[in-house]
C-alpha cells in the first residue's frame, strides 16, 4: 500500500527496493522528509506545553485523546485536499470546495429531517447518497466550465464558490438545521476498532485514490496534462475527460467532507460549513510538496499536509495563544515550514557553514 502512495520523486527514481544505509539515504532524500519534520516539531511544541498531549486512553471501547481528535478532525481537510491535489496536478484549482461541502451538508441534513423516519440508518445512507450525487453534478459543472468552455479554473470555480453558498442556504432556508440520526452522527463521531470512523473513511479514500492513480495510468496521464497540456493532447491524451474527472472527484471529496462536518455537530449551518476550507486544503497540498503549477503530485504529502494543518489548529488553543494572535502564529508557522522545505533556503543556510553552493535551477 505504502508503495503506491510514495511520492513521485521517491517512488519512481529508485526502481529496485533498497535496504540498509541506502534506505536511510533515500529517506533523507525524500521530499516527504521536511513536511514530516514540520509535523513532528509541531507535536513536540505541544508536548512541551502540555506534557500529556500525546496521551491516549481507552474510553467506552474507543480511543480518546488529542491525537485521536486530530485524526478525526483532519478528515474533512484531508478529503478536500485529496481532491484538490488531483485538481492542482492538472494545473487547475478549485475554490468552490467549501461551497460544495456546504451544499452537501445542507442536502444531507434536510433530507434526513424531511424523511419519514428521521433516526433510521437507511435515511442517513439515502441522504448522504443524494448529497454526493448532487456533488457529482456540481463537479461536472465545474469541469464543464474549465475543460469545455475553457474558463480559467480560478474564475470558473469562483462562480460556484459565490453562488454555491447561496444554494446551500436556499436548501436550508438560511436556518441551522439540526438532525437526530445516530448513523449520521457516527460518520463523524463514531469509532470502528477504536479508531475514529471519519478518519478511516478519509484514509480509505486516500488509499483508493492511491490505487486508482498509481496502480493505473491515471496518475501519469493527470501529471502529463498538468505539465504540458498541448504535448499531452498531441500524444492522444484525453485531457478534457481527465480534467473533467478530477473536478468531479474534487467535488465528491468536498461533498464527503461536508457531510462529515455536518455529522460532527449533527447540524448544518450553510453559511459557515467549510468556510475557507479551500485555503486550508490548498495549504495542505502545498506543504505536502505538490506544486501549484501542476504536474507531479504526492498523495502521501497531502496526508501529511492535512495532518499538519489540523495539528496546527489544535496547537493554538493547546498552548494558549490568545485569539488575537492566532493569525500571527499561523503566518510564522507557514513561513517556517515553507522555508525548511525550500531547497534554496536550505542552501543559503548551508552557505554559512560551508563553501558556496552551486546554484542549479532548471535550465529554461
Amino acid at each position: 500500500m505504502t508503495d503506491t502512495l510514495t511520492p513521485p520523486e521517491a517512488g519512481r527514481r529508485t526502481a529496485s527496493p533498497v535496504r540498509g544505509p541506502r534506505l536511510v539515504a533515500r529517506l533523507l532524500a525524500s521530499p516527504l522528509l521536511w513536511p514530516v519534520m514540520a509535523l513532528v516539531v509541531l507535536l513536540v511544541v505541544n508536548v512541551v506545553a502540555t506534557p500529556s498531549f500525546l496521551d491516549v486512553r481507552l474510553q467506552d471501547g474507543h480511543l480518546y485523546g488529542n491525537v485521536v481528535d486530530i485524526a478525526r478532525n483532519s478528515a474533512p481537510v484531508l478529503l478536500v485536499a485529496l481532491g484538490m491535489t488531483l485538481v492542482i496536478a492538472t494545473r487547475g484549482i478549485d475554490l468552490s470546495v467549501g461551497a460544495i461541502a456546504a451544499i452537501a451538508g445542507a442536502v444531507a441534513c434536510t433530507r434526513i429531517v424531511g424523511a419519514g423516519d428521521e433516526g433510521a440508518a437507511a435515511t442517513a445512507i439515502m441522504a448522504c447518497t443524494v448529497a454526493l450525487a448532487i456533488c457529482v453534478l456540481l463537479g461536472l459543472w465545474n469541469g464543464f466550465l474549465v475543460s469545455v468552455v475553457g474558463i480559467q479554473p480560478i474564475i470558473a470555480t469562483l462562480v460556484l464558490m459565490v453562488a454555491g453558498r447561496g444554494l446551500a442556504m436556499l436548501v436550508t432556508d438560511g436556518q441551522i438545521t439540526t438532525v437526530n440520526n445516530d448513523t449520521f452522527s457516527n460518520l463523524a463521531s463514531g469509532f470502528v476498532l477504536g479508531l475514529p470512523l471519519a478518519f478511516l473513511v478519509a484514509v480509505a479514500m486516500v488509499a483508493v485514490t492511491g490505487v486508482l492513480t498509481r496502480r493505473t495510468a491515471l496518475g501519469m496521464l493527470i501529471e502529463a496534462v498538468g505539465i504540458n497540456p498541448e504535448a499531452s493532447r498531441l500524444a492522444g491524451v484525453r485531457s478534457r475527460t481527465i480534467i473533467w474527472t478530477v473536478y468531479v472527484f474534487g467535488a465528491v471529496c468536498a461533498g464527503l467532507a461536508g457531510v462529515i462536518i455536518a455529522a460532527n455537530t449533527n447540524s448544518v449551518n450553510a453559511n459557515s460549513l467549510g468556510l475557507w476550507i479551500e485555503l486550508d486544503a490548498i495549504l495542505a497540498v502545498v506543504i505536502g510538496g505538490t506544486a501549484l503549477t501542476g504536474g507531479r503530485f504526492s498523495l502521501l504529502g497531502t496526508v501529511v499536509g492535512a495532518l499538519f494543518i489540523t495539528t496546527l489548529a489544535r496547537t493554538i488553543p493547546n498552548i494558549g495563544i490568545p485569539s488575537e494572535a492566532n493569525y500571527l502564529f499561523k503566518a510564522m508557522v507557514v513561513v517556517a515550514v515553507c522555508l525548511i522545505q525550500s531547497p534554496r533556503a536550505r542552501a543559503v543556510l548551508r552557505v554559512r557553514r560551508t563553501a558556496p553552493v552551486a546554484r542549479k535551477g532548471n535550465p529554461a
Partner: protein, 534 residues
C-alpha cells in the same frame, strides 16, 4: 538586484581586426559540473580568441549547452576557473554576462512569446525618451537590425504568432544587435533553411572582422567547415581536443566526436525504390485546407512508402502534417484512411487510426519535462489504451529498454527526468514514443533537428527500416539532402500549397531548389506575407 557583478570586468579594448593570436578573451579552465549523479562536464577547458569563430563540437549530450550555460552564469560551476580578459571571473547571472559583453543565443529558442518582435530584440536596452520607452524608436532600431540580417519581419508583430524558425531568427537578431565582444550561438541553424543560414554566416563573418569572438554550435558539419576557424571537441562531458578546422578532415572530426569509426550512411542511398502505388492509399488527403495556413492540398500515401516534404520556411509543411494528424481541424477537404472517409477531430482519432505525428516544436508540443524518460516514451501508447489498462511493468521495462538501446538514448536511464536530457536525446525519446504505438502512418516533422551526425544516421536508418517493414512515413525536413536520401516520393511546398510532386528517381537538391525558385519570388516574399498576417 542580483547583478552584483554588473561592472564589465573586461579591460581590454577591442582588438585589432584580424589579429587572431592575441590573448584569449575568455578562458575556461577545468570546468566541472555535476547534476545529481550525472557528471555533465568533467574538467573541460575552452579558449576563445578575439576575431575567431570557434566551433563547439560533440554528440548529443556531450555537454556543449552546459558549457555555454556555465560560462554565461546560468549554472554555477562546481570547480574550475573562468578567466575573462585576463582576470578570473565568474558571472552570477546571464544578465551579468551580458553586461560584460557576452551575448548568447541559447539552444532552445528562449524569448518571450507574448511580446512583440522588437521588444524581444531590445528588451533591457530599449531606446528611451523622457524616461519612457520610445516605441517608435525601438521598432525602427529593430527594423534596422532585421534589415541588416536581410529579414523582413514586422517588428511590431507578436513573436508567438511566428513559426519557430522566425523566432530563432529573432533570437539571433537580439544577440547580434548588441555591441558584444563575445557572441555565443548554440545551434542557431537547426531550424533555418539554407538561405537564412547564408545570411547568418554573412553577419558572423562581418562580426569576426570586427574582432568579435564567436562560439558556434551546430550538428551540420558543412556549416562548421564553412565558417569555423577552430574547434573544441567534447565527448561525454570531457574535453577531447582543440583543433584548427582546416587541419582536420570531416571523417577525423566525426571519429573524434563519437570516439569510434563511423558507420557509413551511404548504404541508405537508393535503397528505396519500392513505389507500390497500386492498391488503395493508406492515407489520402483531398483538397485539405485551413484558412491562413494551408491552401487546398492533395496527398496520397501508400503502404511502405516514404514521402518527403520539402519547402522553405513557412511553406506550410507543418500545417499539412498537423491537418493529416487532426492536431488542427481542416476548413475544407477530406481525408480517406484506407479508402474510407474519416474526419479527424483530434489527435486521438488519428492515433486510433494508427497515425502518429512527431511535432517540430519539441519543447512546447512534445516534451513532458517533469516526467521520466520512461513515462514520456509510454505516453502515447498508454493514452490510447486508456488509463484503466496500465501497461504491465514488465512490458514497459522491455519496451523502454529496447528503445533506449535502439536509439542510443543517453543517459540510458529510464528514470531520468525528461527535462534534464540534452535536446537531441529528447528528440529521440519522442521518436520512441511514437514508434511504440506501432503506427501505420508516421508523420515526422523535423525529426533530426538538433541531432548529431551519428544519431541522425541512426534515425534515418530507422525510418528506412520501418518503411521496409511496411510503415508509411511522411518525412518533413529543412535539409533537402536528407529528404532526398530517404524518400520514395518528394512533395514540394511553397506559399502554403503543394506546387510539385516527383517520384524520387533522379531528383537532386538543385532540382528541388529550382522547383521552389522557379515558381517565382524569393523566400523573403514569404516572410512579408507572414508578417502582415496579424
Amino acid at each position: 538586484m542580483t547583478t552584483t557583478h554588473e561592472e564589465p570586468p573586461v579591460t581590454a579594448t577591442t582588438p585589432v581586426p584580424g589579429e587572431r593570436a592575441g590573448e584569449p578573451v575568455i578562458e575556461m579552465r577545468d570546468i566541472s559540473i555535476t547534476f545529481g549523479s550525472v557528471r555533465a562536464l568533467d574538467r573541460v577547458s575552452l579558449r576563445l580568441l578575439p576575431g575567431e569563430v570557434h566551433a563547439l563540437m560533440g554528440e548529443n549530450g556531450a555537454g556543449k549547452s552546459t558549457l555555454i550555460k556555465a560560462l554565461t552564469g546560468v549554472y554555477s560551476i562546481d570547480s574550475g576557473t573562468i578567466v575573462v580578459a585576463g582576470e578570473e571571473h565568474a558571472f552570477a547571472t546571464p544578465a551579468a554576462a551580458q553586461a560584460a559583453g557576452i551575448s548568447t543565443v541559447y539552444q532552445e529558442v528562449n524569448l518571450v512569446p507574448n511580446l512583440t518582435v522588437a521588444e524581444n530584440m531590445l528588451l533591457g536596452r530599449e531606446p528611451r525618451r523622457l524616461g519612457g520607452i520610445n516605441v517608435r524608436g525601438m521598432n525602427r532600431r529593430a527594423r534596422e537590425t532585421l534589415d541588416r540580417l536581410g529579414l523582413d519581419i514586422d517588428p511590431s508583430s507578436t513573436l508567438g504568432d511566428h513559426p519557430i524558425a522566425v523566432q530563432q531568427l529573432v533570437a539571433i537578431a537580439r544577440a547580434v544587435d548588441v555591441e558584444a565582444r563575445v557572441l555565443i550561438l548554440d545551434e542557431p541553424t537547426s531550424s533555418l533553411d539554407a538561405d537564412e543560414v547564408a545570411k547568418l554566416f554573412e553577419v558572423m563573418r562581418r562580426l569576426r572582422e570586427d574582432g568579435v569572438a564567436i562560439v558556434f554550435v551546430s550538428h551540420f558539419l558543412d556549416q562548421i567547415y564553412e565558417i569555423a576557424d577552430r574547434m573544441t571537441i567534447l565527448r561525454n562531458g570531457r574535453l577531447v581536443e582543440e583543433r584548427m578546422v582546416a587541419d582536420t578532415t570531416q571523417l577525423e572530426l566525426v571519429q573524434l566526436m563519437i570516439g569510434r569509426e563511423l558507420e557509413v550512411l551511404d548504404r541508405l542511398d537508393h535503397e528505396h525504390t519500392r513505389t507500390s502505388t497500386d492498391g488503395p492509399p493508406v492515407l489520402k488527403a483531398i483538397g485539405l485546407s485551413r484558412k491562413g495556413s494551408l491552401e487546398a492540398t492533395d496527398l496520397s500515401l501508400y503502404d511502405g512508402e516514404v514521402v518527403g516534404v520539402a519547402g522553405l520556411l513557412g511553406s506550410g509543411r507543418t500545417e499539412l502534417a498537423r491537418l493529416l494528424f487532426g492536431a488542427d481541424t481542416a476548413d475544407h477537404g477530406s481525408l480517406e484512411i484506407r479508402s474510407s472517409r474519416r474526419r479527424l477531430r483530434s489527435p486521438r482519432h488519428a492515433i486510433d487510426r494508427k497515425i502518429a505525428f512527431s511535432s517540430e516544436d519539441r519543447k512546447a508540443e512534445g516534451v513532458i519535462g517533469d516526467l521520466t524518460v520512461a513515462d514520456n516514451m509510454m505516453l502515447a501508447l498508454q493514452a490510447s489504451r486508456g488509463w484503466l489498462r496500465p501497461i504491465p511493468q514488465a512490458v514497459r521495462n522491455r519496451l523502454v529498454g529496447e528503445y533506449i538501446e535502439a536509439l542510443d538514448i543517453r543517459p540510458a536511464d529510464p528514470q531520468a527526468l525528461m527535462r534534464n536530457l540534452s535536446g537531441g536525446n529528447q528528440q529521440k525519446v519522442l521518436l520512441a514514443r511514437w514508434l511504440i504505438t506501432e503506427p501505420e502512418v508516421l508523420i515526422l516533422d523535423e525529426p533530426t533537428r538538433g541531432i548529431d551526425i551519428g544519431a541522425k544516421a541512426q534515425i534515418q536508418a530507422k525510418v528506412a527500416e520501418l518503411a521496409r517493414r511496411g510503415m508509411s512515413v511522411v518525412f518533413i525536413s529543412a535539409e533537402l539532402e536528407e529528404v532526398l536520401r530517404l524518400s520514395d516520393r518528394v512533395v514540394v511546398m511553397r506559399d502554403r500549397r503543394k506546387i510539385a510532386e516527383r517520384p524520387n528517381d533522379d531528383v537532386s537538391v538543385s532540382d528541388i531548389l529550382e522547383i521552389i525558385a522557379g515558381h517565382g519570388g524569393t523566400p523573403s516574399a514569404r516572410t512579408e506575407e507572414e508578417s502582415s498576417r496579424d
